[in-house]
Every structure is written in structure tokens, then in C-alpha cells.
Homo-oligomer: 201 residues x 2
């Protein structure tokens, strides 16, 4: 067994950093040393930022986004269109869409996708709250922005069925050739979908 | 320009996490979301661990190791041999050696290697303090455990010259075939060194 070379404080810091996604035990050690070397410019601000985040960040009761205010920045933005709800599986997807597009709409975070194999059923997601929101008179469109995976598309069909009773248009993201993608390397399902959903120039 | 979807507290956390080695802007976002989701089991302990580290961790005045005590755990360990000093470039190398070997010795962290191209000269490293330590009567061997790079080996030669006046044996790590390595894939310099330094079975 290796002898202890550093105090328990450093070991604990390494162990916690190693639990972050993208960092393993070895890179957590590198990160800890980096933090120790950049004490004032990085370690102190990071400790402060984590403490601030702990004290301020909550989940939005309306859409499920994480923010320091509740309702969140998106839900309380008066410039956003109340008529359109974009449904995403996860907050990360919400952020990705906001970076990529300029859709002026509200969001709804499901908290995952239906996955019978993993034991995720409708009651584990915020589908009930979505159906309720979709029945509000001002809502005209629900955009299902879910992953193009089996679980994602199962969820799309399940939600579409539930929203039949609401007077809303239900849409989903287009399938097609990724921008910059080469046809030769694409799978046949994507190519066939891109051909079916071709658009006029 | 994307609209703000999360408060400035989250953005600040992401920016700071992105400066850690091994995390880029995208993985920092993932890490921040992960922390927000694991608020109690991970975010709170990490904030605490960073604060504790900030308050307790110092650099050892003797060897340059980082620890919560000064002199550090290694320097103040009475079971360690005072006769041997292992010279390393960086604290990470000290930790790596401690994990790998059972050498019962003290350390000396140089803080880098000589690098004329990067403007690192002898005065930027703790070479003076090392020479002083090596002149202590109890020291019999100085092991130069530096990288097998040009800069590392330049530093080895420079320090070896300086230690001529001290009555110590100066050694360096063996070159050779890495354990598990295949001869076919090794560079010629390593193979030649492994042949020259072959050992009797």
C-alpha cells in the first residue's frame, strides 16, 4: 500500500473531483494539483462559485430548467412567445437548443425519456405537467425536441397520443443530413428520412 | 447571440470549471449540470473540500511538496530514510513515484526542469536549496528522477555537475523497455539503452 504523501484534505478533494463526468482518478489528481497551484486565480473563485451556486440555484417549478430564480429566466422572459412549448429530455438539451437556435419559445424539461428497460415510466417524467400546460388556451404548438433514439421516439409517440385531446399542433425535429455531413458516411435510415422530407429550393 | 437561459451564477461556475485541465467548455457544462443535479451528495462536499484546501494547504519549506502541514507528511515522517533525496520536477511526479515504488526516502521538488527555450534557468528552480540539502552530512545519495526528455536530461547533467563538491552518490532512473512493452514498437534510443544497461538474470 502506498504511504500517504499528502494530507487527507488533498485526497478528499481528488476523490470528489474524480466523480465529475469527464474526469477519472488520474485527471482528478492533475486537476487538484492545478487548483493548488492556481490558488488565488482559480481555487478561491471556484470554491466561491460553488458556494454561491449551492445557495442560489433551484429548479424552475414551471419548466424544470435550473436557474437562480424561480420561475426561471426563460419562463419569466416577457419577450418569449407563450404559444409554443419546446419539450426536451434534459436541461443540457435546453441549453444546446438555446445556443443553436433563435426559437422564441418556452420550454418543458421532461427529466429523461421513457425507457422500459431502465424502468423509466410516464410517472417518472413530468409528462402530466406538460399535458396540463399544453391545455392552456394560449398554447398553439408543442415541439418535441427529443433524441432520435428508440427511447426518444417512443416518448414522442406516447406524448403525441396524450396531446390529441389538447387543441395544439404537435411537431418534432426534422431528420436529415447533418450540416457538413457526407452522404457516403450516413446510415441508410437517415438518408431515407432526408429523401422523404426533402425541401424545395 | 444566444439569450441567457441560466443565471450568471451557473455561467460563472461553468467558466471556472472549464479552466481545469481535462475539461473543455462543453464538458465543463456537463460537469456543472452534474453538480447541480447531485447537489447534496457532490456539490456541497466539493465546495467544502475546496474551502478546506484553501485554508489548510501550503507548500513544504523543505522539499516543495504540497500538504496541509509544513514540514509536509513526507519530510516529518520519522520512518523515512534521511540519507536519500529523490529529486523530481513536479509534485505530480512525487505522487506518481509514491504510488509506484516503496523507496523509503525524502524528496526535493525542483518546480520544473531547465528549459532555455521557455526561459527557465537555474534560478527559477529550487536547485540552490537542493545543493544545500545534499551537503548535509547524513545525505549519501541523490536520485535524479526527472523526465527522460531533453529538458529533463539537461537538468540531470546540470545538477550532477553542481553536486560534485558534495560527498554523495548521484544516480538517475534506468532507461529501458517499459513493463508490458513490445520491442517492435519501441524507438531505437530506448532499445539501445535497454541493451547497454542489460541486467544479469
Amino acid at each position: 500500500m502506498p504511504k500517504a504523501v499528502a494530507g487527507p484534505e488533498i485526497e478528499r478533494l481528488i476523490q470528489l473531483l474524480a466523480r465529475l463526468p469527464g474526469l477519472g482518478p488520474r485527471s482528478a489528481r492533475r486537476a487538484a494539483l492545478f487548483l493548488i497551484k492556481k490558488r488565488e486565480p482559480l481555487m478561491a473563485p471556484l470554491a466561491g462559485a460553488l458556494q454561491t451556486a449551492l445557495e442560489t440555484i433551484t429548479v424552475c417549478n414551471t419548466c424544470g430548467n435550473v436557474d437562480s430564480q424561480n420561475p426561471c429566466t426563460v419562463c419569466s422572459d416577457p419577450r418569449r412567445d407563450d404559444n409554443v412549448i419546446i419539450v426536451v429530455a434534459d436541461v443540457a438539451d435546453l441549453w444546446a437548443l438555446e445556443r443553436a437556435t433563435a426559437v422564441n419559445a418556452k420550454y418543458h424539461v421532461l427529466g429523461g425519456t421513457l425507457s422500459p428497460l431502465d424502468g423509466v415510466g410516464p410517472d417518472d417524467l413530468t409528462i402530466g405537467a406538460l399535458v396540463e400546460r399544453a391545455h392552456a388556451p394560449e398554447v398553439t404548438e408543442v415541439i418535441l425536441a427529443l433524441n432520435a433514439t428508440v427511447d426518444g421516439q417512443t416518448t414522442v409517440h406516447y406524448i403525441t397520443d396524450l396531446l390529441h385531446s389538447a387543441n395544439v399542433k404537435v411537431t418534432r425535429l426534422a431528420h436529415g443530413v447533418p450540416v457538413g455531413g457526407e452522404l457516403d458516411y450516413l446510415d441508410e435510415g437517415t438518408l431515407a428520412a432526408a429523401m422523404r422530407q426533402r425541401t424545395q429550393i
